[in-house]
Subunit: 436 residues, 2 copies
């Protein structure tokens, strides 16, 4: 099957991410999609800047309408943003029979009903996983993963800028204005941060999620929106004393009389996972009547995290063209004729760090003997904890954390350490992962 | 379009959940799927026990093969478990041209290659979202949501029994044997808990995820498996002192030489979200080269959480029958002609709890006046915190947490409190959500 041809309107940070991800993971993506996905055309005013990103193999045009006019393009990716020209271009692309992938939450939250109706009339898809929570597949979870449920509520940290600011205010006890300036300096907040700090961006995303959860049209104009500009360090501190953290949440909740749709700073019990989502990370909680509470966490913005969602939408559309059960989504994610023969490694070749607990004689030279055995096996030590022995006791616990090593080396070292006369009991060894 | 007909083999806890969820959310599910999903036939040896669950409107048979033989049945749900009869029945259902939905991780981890090949040859789906992490849509995330990524590793708490035991051991400082007995008494561990506590169940799930992530065949026999039976309270305590928690993780990781596939107790930094997943909850971290770290959290077992995944698979298959872009997955999750007119509520009708900070004169009767105003508005108080005023200071901060109320009532009360002469500055009010 011939590769699906993609044209990209607006080659900024996310657009560059889409190009890099599609190029780098080309082979793996094709094994999943069952056909190639080729970025063949991009539009950007500044042609030279575009060429610096995509080189010479992709056609670069200044006018996005050239992409729409090209009959070879199957899918148009809209990454221009805003409600103005982006709305015209999306509607024109749909009218031209192109599928559309977009990260534009503002556009869909405000003009979604018009755009989805146009797409329906033309029999094309408008895919928007990248519009909410960046690379976290939350649209797919709501639209496909949780279809069994009557959704009761959604509550999400869906704006990284404000979560970064709130984390810093709490950590450092600083006031909003001070932290905003720091966030701007570090690139976590834009020069004009209004949309983020006033909660408008979060409200766009909450509006989209409210429609997906409750089967209602997008109604951004009905959302209640409060930002974080008036929040003081004092209230963050009092909340902490009472066992709460303050997060800017986008909330959509079903009540007997209707739907609540609101964005505002919210006290959340400190022990909830979502209260511990720090910095620019995003997380969305979804409460369904069958599944109970679920939570989805990850990077909500940035070049490649957002590109991850855009490209997933491209794969969904590529898979659509072969919609028999065998092809749409392969059982094991990759096409059955594309499985790899990569071996599963024997445990001796596995790499992890280790926690060791040794019951040792409380005498000189014990630690030296043990560390020499580890060093001889090329295992380096990260931390040592020695329990103080009680008076009259002649043995003690020695805890060692190692850096990463291959398991075979550790097993060899363990045998040697175990045979030392000063090691008085079987050594406990546990693996350790930083998961970072 | 006529409803899709489902037959259910094995009406136990999860089967009952599937029946209840399909019955209760029938209308909502149909609005999402675009057609009805009808459970018309179930099999269970004990017909009376089955009738107690599904009543008289569903046909009950003792022999599961009657379901397979029924030409009206489109999808067979296999909830029998194990590799024995379940394998025969799944292969027979496929041979009969039925789609299969299963929660059976053991079967797929061991016989997946054979079963998927048979399904391919027949052009039917074998869907298994319920096989890993219950209601969390992690199969969908790996198979569709993260398709842009070269997956680097997956690490998951994918067995609720062992996570419950480890949480209790840490919380109460008790040893494994003691906590296991308690878990059995509370129903968190089975009478024969071997598969859970020895890590076999987690290894089945990790095997499935390794195939989805890396495009390799399922190879359960190559997994390295260690359970939690030898873990002591001592090591949990030392790990805590060093800033780590011990979790039973299923890990699949890409190395230069091959894939690591392993289940074992693992030290994890206490500050990671996954280290704070307590009790019988599950969570899976996925690291992709584009998206970075993502995490998926929810209930990994139980009647309705598992049914949530089974029914999502049924909806996926129902949507497959209408695979044009317009129908496969509707833009807003629900079919466009099924959107609801449920209103979005004005903020006055929103229900939340509140945090109030009042700067008040430090004199008698102040608190009484304020609490009377709240009581008159039917707002009940959850907690009060009063800062001790410094010597000579004649004002202080009064912090009040309320129970849930409608916003309109709170606004009315705020106006009245603000007008008290003993309230010396604008009152700060913030909303509070328990998210439980």
């Amino acid at each position: 099957m011939k590769p699906i041809q993609v044209g990209l309107m607006g080659l900024g940070t996310v657009g560059a991410g889409v190009f890099h991800v599609l190029s780098r993971n080309q082979e793996e993506i094709q094994r999943r999609a069952g056909r190639g996905i080729e970025l063949t055309m991009v539009s950007r005013r500044n042609l030279d800047a575009a060429r610096d990103i995509v080189g010479d193999r992709v056609r670069i045009v200044a006018d996005a309408r050239e992409i729409i006019a090209n009959p070879d393009i199957d899918i148009v990716v809209e990454l221009i943003g805003g409600y103005g020209i982006a709305r015209d271009l999306v509607l024109e692309a749909i009218a031209a029979g192109k599928h559309v992938v977009t990260a534009n939450k503002a556009l869909l939250a405000v003009h979604g009903s018009e755009i989805f109706a146009a797409a329906r009339a033309q029999g094309v898809m408008v895919a928007f996983e990248a519009a909410v929570a960046g690379g976290i597949p939350i649209i797919k979870a709501l639209r496909e993963g949780l279809t069994a449920n009557r959704i009761e509520w959604i509550a999400g940290i869906i704006n990284g800028t404000t979560n970064f600011i709130l984390s810093e205010m709490r950590d450092k006890g600083l006031d909003f204005d001070v932290v905003l300036k720091e966030a701007q300096r570090l690139g976590y907040a834009e020069a004009d941060p209004t949309f983020d700090i006033e909660g408008v961006d979060a409200a766009h995303k909450a509006t989209l999620m409210s429609a997906l959860a409750f089967g209602i049209p997008v109604q951004f104009d009905r959302a209640h929106i409060e930002g974080i500009t008036k929040l003081s360090a004092t209230d963050i501190r009092y909340a902490e004393q009472l066992g709460y953290r303050i997060k800017l949440l986008g909330i959509a909740k079903r009540q007997a009389e209707g739907i609540e749709l609101r964005v505002h700073p919210t006290l959340v019990p400190s022990k909830r996972l979502i209260a511990n989502v720090e910095g620019a990370m995003n997380a969305v909680m979804v409460q369904g009547d069958a599944v109970g509470t679920t939570l989805y966490y990850g990077k909500g913005a940035g070049s490649e995290p957002t590109a991850s969602a855009v490209v997933a939408d491209l794969v969904d559309i590529a898979r659509l063209a072969t919609a028999d059960p065998d092809h749409r989504v392969p059982h094991l994610a990759f096409q059955p004729d594309s499985l790899a023969s990569t071996p599963i490694l024997p445990i001796d070749q596995v790499r992890t760090a280790f926690y060791l607990r040794l019951c040792v004689a409380d005498q000189k030279g014990v630690l030296a003997n043990i560390t020499r055995i580890l060093a001889d096996s090329d295992i380096s030590i990260d931390a040592v904890l020695q329990r103080e022995s009680a008076e009259g006791e002649n043995q003690t616990d020695l805890i060692i954390l190692t850096h990463e090593t291959v398991e075979g080396a550790m097993r060899h070292a363990l045998t040697q350490m175990q045979s030392l006369p000063t090691v008085l009991a079987p050594i406990v060894s546990l693996r350790k992962e930083e998961l970072a």
